[in-house]
């Protein structure tokens, strides 16, 4: 961190503001843990409500992160390399879910993919399959809110890539797809990993779009955040226990990944 040996003394104004900022994050977590029902905790965490929600949350967030990667990387590539009209507009639409209230996103998904949605109605008529109130509804809501984080991260990496390497590979006779796999992807790997982690984390915490689009049913669509929301009104201890699970899972993954390969640029 301090490679050239010169550390300017930290200005107290910055330190003060930084401590206020840190307190904003630390104090609520402390508050939550201070209310933790430690003695009942093992029993609460072993309940069906919690295990069902944890399993569902892990499955849906991982599948969503995978789908966001499979579709998001090509989209990022298109946004970074494509030269077509409306690229700026497309980029704005893609990043919209980052600023949109997730509930609005969920409603928009309903109007598109719901049973009476512009596409959902056709799907229902042709196949009888209805996305909302199913695990696929949760996954699609997750992808909707999470993919922008991956696209943004990967796109900026692609935009900052020195095109010389790809050009060299091309001169040496590699096919465009081969160049993408063997040259481009390895060079953006650190950003790609960061993007996947960000997308996964966003999917794990997703609430608004899920509850609006996919409903709330234990074991099928009730993820950890939904379980917290429902429990807050019926059983505070349960809600706190589930929140602790969310915090521990997220922290573990973020810390482990950061050490393992996120920051290894």
């Amino acid at each position: 961190m301090n490679r050239n040996g010169v550390t300017p003394r930290a200005p107290w104004q910055l330190v003060g503001l930084a401590l206020v900022a840190a307190a904003l994050f630390v104090i609520p977590i402390v508050g939550l843990f201070s209310r933790a029902p430690w003695r009942r905790l093992p029993k609460l965490l072993a309940s069906d409500l919690v295990t069902d929600a944890l399993t569902l949350s892990l499955v849906t967030s991982i599948v969503a992160a995978a789908l966001a990667t499979v579709f998001g990387v090509p989209l990022a590539w298109l946004l970074a390399r494509g030269t077509f009209r409306g690229r700026g507009l497309l980029r704005a639409v893609v990043t919209l879910p980052m600023v949109l209230p997730p509930v609005v996103g969920g409603a928009a998904l309903l109007f598109a993919l719901g049973r009476r949605g512009i596409i959902g109605e056709t799907i229902d008529n042709l196949t009888g399959f209805v996305l909302p109130f199913s695990i696929w509804g949760v996954i699609i809501a997750n992808v909707f809110v999470a993919m922008p984080f991956l696209v943004i991260t990967v796109e900026s990496a692609l935009a900052n890539l020195d095109p010389g390497y790809e050009r060299a590979a091309s001169t040496l006779g590699a096919s465009p797809l081969r160049i993408f796999w063997r040259v481009t992807m390895p060079m953006i790997a650190p950003s790609l990993r960061a993007g996947i982690v960000l997308a996964w984390a966003r999917a794990l915490g997703e609430f608004g779009a899920t509850v609006t689009f996919a409903g709330n049913l234990q074991g099928r669509t009730q993820t950890l955040p939904l379980a917290v929301y429902v429990s807050l009104e019926s059983d505070r201890d349960s809600a706190i226990a589930i929140s602790m699970v969310l915090i521990v899972v997220s922290m573990t993954v973020l810390v482990v990944l950061r050490d393992r390969w996120w920051s290894r640029t």
């Binding site: 309903l110 109130f133 049913l217 669509t221 429902v230 807050l232």
Partner: protein, 285 residues
């Protein structure tokens, strides 16, 4: 989500405070002077905005001197209490009713966490009992009754005929969540009818459930009779009373509540409240 109404009232409150603008401007001039050394036109633009926002916040925090009644009411009372509040305000000029609508259970949590409620109208006497037990509340009075009914989208596309249809897994069916009065009541109905329900979603309050049925996202749901009584966007299928227990709505005020709060409760129980509740499909206690 319904807390938005409170925020909106607060917002409209700010507009009335424009007479204080002169002093705000004085403050902003001083602020500009202080930040003038930065020599940035942006600050000159931003400073009044920041000062205005801060003074608006201060105005909101200090709005308790207004003659308002803060009424926390069950989601199923949404339409009835909106009408009752309007009628009450018309009869009591200068008094504003602020409605905070949500599931009774979420309102209970808000009240127990110290939310400033003057009046609480619950869809469940059990939930009312837990609020009373925590202290500070007056003896509750029952002001309305209700029962559940099946609501289906207009035209009843899934051809629902009765409670037995809730056992069909191929249908999209909704109820309220456990812990929410309409959700607990729905479980009681299934139990009495000996139906193993194939539920697809547990909504957090009855309004959310009704909205999903209106939009034809669900084939059917168990909602209150009052939700379907005057609602042209859903159709109603009644349940036999034998499997459909009646539920009562208690109302109370809190210690230190104003004369206005007591007046509001009397108004709800009185003839006008009675008539409006009955128009919205509620029964008399």
């Amino acid at each position: 989500m319904k807390n938005i109404e409170t925020a909106l009232v607060c917002f409209s409150e700010q507009n009335r405070l424009s007479r204080h603008e002169a002093t705000d401007r004085g403050a902003s001039v001083e602020f500009q002077h202080m930040t003038g050394r930065l020599n940035s036109a942006r600050w000159a633009l931003l400073a009044p905005v920041i000062v205005a926002a801060l003074s608006a916040l201060a105005a909101c925090a200090g709005q308790s001197d207004e003659r308002t009644v803060s009424v926390f009411a069950a989601a199923s009372l949404t339409n009835a209490f909106t009408d009752i509040a309007a009628a009450f305000e018309a009869e009591n000029p200068g008094t504003a009713v602020v409605l905070n609508l949500g599931s009774s259970s979420s309102l209970r949590e808000q009240i127990l966490s110290g939310a400033p409620a003057n009046v609480f109208a619950s869809a469940s006497d059990q939930i009312m009992a837990s609020v009373i037990k925590a202290g500070n509340a007056a003896t509750p009075r029952t002001f309305a009754t209700n029962r559940l009914a099946i609501a289906v989208p207009v035209g009843n596309p899934a051809a629902i005929t009765g409670i037995e249809d809730f056992a069909r897994p191929e249908l999209l069916l909704g109820v309220c969540a456990i812990g929410v009065p309409c959700g607990d009541l729905a479980r009681r109905v299934f139990e009495l009818a000996a139906v193993t329900a194939a539920i697809d979603t547990n909504e957090n309050d009855v309004q959310a459930l009704v909205t999903r049925i209106e939009a034809d996202e669900l084939d059917a749901g168990l909602v209150y009779q009052s939700d379907v009584a005057t609602n042209p966007r859903v159709e109603r299928i009644d349940l036999p009373d034998a499997i459909n227990p009646m539920t009562v709505y208690p109302i109370t005020t809190f210690d230190g509540s104003s004369v206005e709060a007591d007046a509001f409760v009397s108004f709800v129980i009185g003839p006008i409240g009675r008539r409006l509740l009955s128009e919205h499909g509620f029964g008399s206690p």
